[in-house]
Symmetry: C2
Subunit: 428 residues, 2 copies
Amino acid sequence: MKAYKAMTREELEELKKELEKVYEDVKGKGLSLNMARGKPSTEQLDLTKDMLDVLDSKADLFTEDGIDTRNYGELTGIREAKVLIADLMEVDPDEVIVFGNGSLSIMYDTVAGSMSFGVNGMTPWNKLEKVKFLCPVPGYDRHFAITERFGIEMINIPLTEDGPDMDMVRDYVENDEAVKGIWCVPKYSNPTGTTYSDETVRAFAALKPKADDFRIYWDNAYAVHDLYEDDKDVLLNIMDECKKQGREDMVYQFVSTSKITFAGAGIAAVISSKANLEWYRQNMTIRTIGYDKVNQLRHVRYFKNADGIRNKMKDHARILAPKFKAVLDCFEKELDGLEIGTYTRPKGGYFISFMALEGCAGKIVAKCKEAGMVTTGAGATYPYKKDPKDSNIRIAPSYPTLEDMKEAASLFCLCVKLVSIEKVLEDK
Amino acid sequence: MKAYKAMTREELEELKKELEKVYEDVKGKGLSLNMARGKPSTEQLDLTKDMLDVLDSKADLFTEDGIDTRNYGELTGIREAKVLIADLMEVDPDEVIVFGNGSLSIMYDTVAGSMSFGVNGMTPWNKLEKVKFLCPVPGYDRHFAITERFGIEMINIPLTEDGPDMDMVRDYVENDEAVKGIWCVPKYSNPTGTTYSDETVRAFAALKPKADDFRIYWDNAYAVHDLYEDDKDVLLNIMDECKKQGREDMVYQFVSTSKITFAGAGIAAVISSKANLEWYRQNMTIRTIGYDKVNQLRHVRYFKNADGIRNKMKDHARILAPKFKAVLDCFEKELDGLEIGTYTRPKGGYFISFMALEGCAGKIVAKCKEAGMVTTGAGATYPYKKDPKDSNIRIAPSYPTLEDMKEAASLFCLCVKLVSIEKVLEDK
């Protein structure tokens, strides 16, 4: 394969004509493909459908300590659900609060609570002149939407192969009191698939924040979401590292079963120090009498222990891995050597990240759309939806069928080529 | 029965000695009774235990319009859940958003959203000098806790037999721009059991608020929670009345199945105008990808329609009514004629309200506690936990067994008598 920029203007024009013809043909097919959101497929959701059988009208709905899960109460979650999460995440059950479905709302409530009431009794952020969050980029659009909604200034931090640029993080966190948080997806990061190196995790734990109410928002969304049994990333336990530094109040860790059981009906949890959890409890007790404990019990009875979850993740991997492979095989075949973009090869998580030539992402997404394929919007992976280089595109292979995914990947490559030719021609 | 104040000092001293002996005997029993919270009993929770059978691993988990309830999405709830709630509450399904378990968190998020972002694009309340809420008293402690948490000034409004004193409400709402809301439990009010009269509901709808962002928080928690099939209170439909006045944006109505199915695992909803619901949607979309739709579907499949719910409520009444009767029979037998307190005789809901002689509520509660019985804290039914007359005590007959309830009522009357004798003696 010859790099586009090594081709003559005439060669490029010729190629462009050919590809445009192919594109018109594809458009004629009236496709309807969606690579936009990290949604589990129906096949994946069916993996845990039998979870609905464990609690029926004959079931004992009381917890081990005699709590009726159907009734009010148990604000911080039932004990055995804490044990399940603690077992999985290698923390103490007393460091866990179990909520309802979805960890996003826990993160939202954490920011909202900090804005209105302050962190652990400190000044409410809405009384401060300025609050800033560090945002490793590319990152998760819904994180950025929360901080944007509350008027928190977001600062881009480049994500390297080892995680966020820790020199830059340290510089901000240790010198700017307005910096109150950093959004992290430390394992199989959304959208790059990056797992933070041990050195990065240790560097996080070693931070000496200027602001006492600085917190690391450790969204461990893909903690057990490996694609390959024999080739997994391993993330260092941030709680352990923070404890070594005597800074266990510095991190909130978020997890959920949204991509383990049901995306819309899982259970979510926060893991943090006892002091931090007491602050959560004080905020929660005004907002709710308790989360859905029946569903917590359903999860516990179904999985029994962390191994139950880990085993189920192997079934997810069997469905997901071929879809990732289909995309990567296509990219390799169609794009390698053309020098018109790079892409990640994640070992887990839900996304592949494509970095197009500068200024091309928006046009590629538009071209895909014109031919009937929806991808995540260009810019979505950056704060304020502004990708400074207009380069990153997030690809979510999970939801479509394998066949659709192959077709989608192929169309994507075609659009990348077409837009890149124009870019290379312009630059000539 | 002779009124205490008509008795001589000697008669009272004599009676006191007798009752003190009885009290010491009761204390010796080491009772453990709880009349504190409006929790359904296990027997009630068992009424809908078979709801757990309607969705099993063989069930179709898709909605009528083809949504997989297990997956992400459908932020405002599944269509058929909206239809179920709309059917029950006699509104349009487009006027309903269905959430997760518990309406309290919807109310909290409503206040929180108004504080941070303003109502329908108006000035965020946290940018205002002062925000006030009207609080019909006695009322629901958890309502008051929300507004207190956000530093909203609460103003007591006396609750009459017809609902809140509407002259006072009108005066505040129509003249004070800082008044942004009023907490209402319009049917079988917590704790008095009062149902607002048609005139009161119409007066609410006819309000011409000084503040455009004034809203009525219509917590219709006991909408179908009648105790007696042949003697129900009927509440006028506030949405209909507001529409007649062209003020349908003025009310948020909250409902849930917490006291219909499972207290901790029901579904909750807000009913409001389309403009207001669009504001909810904008706030929700940052906080969550969607609530638990599997549980929404479970409720719909179980009840099928509003009649399904209404029929189930008859079973609840069969369990609850005897407990209310036990308390009221005891009060009648033990207290009527003594002129040491009044009590309500609600036709539904979860509470009986006792009004002790001024200055006696705290002492009665303490005396009950000393003998092993927990009641709702004195003052809890007032903003800032301050009952100006220290008179109201909320009694929750639902949770204990009928036998325990009888014992509890009897002990309560004994404590009322003892504390009242002292009060009457002091006043002599």
